[in-house]
Subunit: 412 residues, 2 copies
């Protein structure tokens, strides 16, 4: 059956999440399918920023560390995030950037398994996780090695030599989703620590860390959680490990008595040990706004809409762009994918540039992947129709062959 | 000779830096002597924040990584800061928090001196530097130790066993200033790497890293540089060490080809290797505003006024508060102090609480130190008079004995 634009408008009219779109700003005419890279701006972010700058910094100055709760913001935001990822109060904290937090968690895990030397990771993962662990291993110089495994090989790669696994839940490039519970169980059956990177799953789909008995996790807030450019990362450490898992980047915020100004480090026995030092507060404070929106939304509804948006997008590509040889990279099965659709094309780069120029913002990942992220709180069904419609127009008119779309610059 | 308020007004009338005060916001009636903890807000910070949020995030979204220069902001701000601390273009970069950067620099230095096991540090320093190096040593587990030395003992503590010194230029509590050139020379004569923490000197006094032949340095931007709450830290690595000094927190921003998404880490050969990963951009962008003000000010004039403000403050304390047994902790000699005045008093805590209540904001550091920071771009001479005047009133009326000032809470 051939679909029409009206079918998509009808889906929007029935969408229980549709009203959330009003809480985000998007430029006129733009279909934004890159929320998996930088989430759109919640309108309330501006109000919050002005509050931090005018009132908390400008007016209250140094008092804001207590009065505005700056010092405890890392825990407050952690507790809000915990509700979105199946963690308990006191198990999540904000700090630093994702890579640094991967380093902390893997370092803590290796200390907990001193006789084991292997870390299982996905070689094709967004590379910063690999880089950080490579840096750690080189620094420790105790014979650790990364055992790289790709999707489908991970369970088999886990054996009794493994100290920890550190796997990204949804793959940044292909969008494939790993079975968190099964991989965690295999890891723990082998005596390893299971660490999950939620960069492309927190806020994108229901995550239930404690149901899966995950040991530790790290995640990003500037993608699906709309925290703002480069906003801080969060970490989860299961309560059973508090006081036993100790990370080595031992700054004063993780000290047992931070304002005691003692000469020697004494680790706190809770999640705060995983923080380091003073956080860039303006960025951190703004990221609370996105969390507050998510806390009012039903994550199961988000997942339902996300899958439907992606299904329809795939269907339309096949129906309307069938002549142009785009290959679906993301798995078709619902339980095998996150909230993005990736297709490969040898002309992926200029076609994506043309799409962006025509107001459909996705992104390109070398060598040939076109990525489209679907964020159900501000992407509508008709956006899916219109995106493919513009895309078809670009293909039919060969607009993507224009010189301007074929000049490679820095691509983020 | 007894001074009067009119003398201070006359000094303000003659002050070549006086006009800079208009560029900062301070609440009505407040005398802010805590810019050594959190610098006051430049009025332009608000404009810049709105630009980042409305235009760069809201409107331009992901394009801002290139279009608004987000990805290169760490270098752009580094180059601006270089001019304030006697470094060259390409020698300074912004990243993460001070503690993490101390860790990176000391780790890189220890790798450069693999046969040496001692790091000289000041035990009474703001403890995060010590904590981070303690974490590093414990993690490396190769027999490194910190040799703690206090002011006056540092030169003698440096010998041929020393791999690195890591000393804070101006002491956070007492305000004493170390002789950077002499200590660096002694360290290098012994074959050690000289690392300086500029948290209380960058923006407070002329710093000339390359004249002193410093190897590495780290600094804070939210104090004297008015970068905003918790704004990112900067690092200096002398060009002669680029490609040789390699830090172990190897995130994708320090990779030779960050957008190549290679599986394995390859360090960049320049200062960017010292960055880690995606930075909280809103906070980072706002901190440029403070730098731009400093680039229009003459650092020698700032120092001249800073010393005069502190001298007058000390003189007035002695002249007007002589009955109350405040002991000067900060060295009196100009070449031995930074831009703060610390006094000790057994009743320091409630007296500081009372001062804050009466609009004179300094801070208290246990067990008995009252700290007053002087930031010549927005503190006037008459502020010095008025601060001591209010202080005298608090002492004469015994207002500090009120119960409300004697309840200890968290003090930052």
């Amino acid at each position: 059956m051939t679909m029409t634009r009206e079918d998509f408008l009808a889906l929007d009219a029935d969408d229980p999440l549709a009203h959330f779109a009003d809480e985000f700003y998007l430029p006129e005419g733009i279909i934004y399918l890159d929320g998996n890279s930088l989430g759109a701006m919640p309108k309330a972010a501006k109000t919050r920023a002005l509050e931090v700058i005018d009132q908390e910094w400008g007016e209250d100055l140094i008092k804001s560390w207590n009065k505005a709760g700056w010092f405890n913001l890392v825990e407050k935001l952690g507790n809000k995030t915990a509700k979105l990822i199946g963690a308990d109060e006191g198990e999540v904290i904000y700090a630093d950037a994702t890579g640094l937090n991967v380093y902390k968690l893997v370092a803590a895990a290796l200390e907990m398994r001193p006789d084991r030397k292997v870390i299982v990771m996905e070689g094709s993962n967004f590379p910063t996780d690999n880089y950080m662990v490579q840096g750690l291993i080189k620094q420790l110089d105790r014979g650790h090695e990364i055992r790289f495994a790709e999707d489908g090989e991970i369970l088999d790669a886990i054996d009794d030599d493994v100290a920890a696994i550190c796997i990204t839940h949804v793959h940044y490039k292909t969008g494939h989703l790993h079975d968190m519970a099964a991989i965690t169980k295999k890891a723990q059956d082998c005596g390893a620590i299971a660490i999950w990177d939620l960069c492309h799953s927190a806020g994108a789909l229901p995550v239930d860390l404690n149901s899966a008995n995950v040991d530790m996790a790290v995640g990003c807030t500037y993608k699906y959680l709309n925290g703002g450019p480069g906003s801080q990362s969060f970490m989860f450490v299961a309560r059973r490990h508090h006081g036993k898992a100790v990370q080595p980047l031992t700054g004063w915020w993780g000290h047992d008595v931070p304002f005691g100004f003692e000469r020697d480090y004494r680790p706190r026995k809770d999640i705060r040990q995983f923080s380091t030092g003073t956080e860039p507060i303006t960025s951190l404070a703004i990221s609370e706004v996105g969390l507050d929106i998510f806390l009012r939304a039903d994550m199961n509804e988000i997942r339902k809409k996300s899958l439907k948006l992606c299904d329809l997008f795939i269907e339309l590509i096949e129906e309307r762009l069938g002549d142009y040889n785009f290959k679906l990279v993301t798995p078709r099965e619902h339980n095998r994918r996150g909230s993005q659709v990736s297709v490969s094309s040898e002309n992926g780069f200029p076609i994506m540039q043309a799409l962006i120029d025509f107001g459909v913002i996705g992104d390109f990942r070398a060598p040939d992947i076109m990525r489209f992220g679907f964020t159900p709180l501000y992407v509508s069904y008709v956006d899916v129709w219109d995106a493919v419609d513009r895309w078809k127009n670009i293909m039919d008119t060969k607009a993507w062959k224009r010189e301007e779309f074929n000049q490679k610059g820095a691509v983020t």
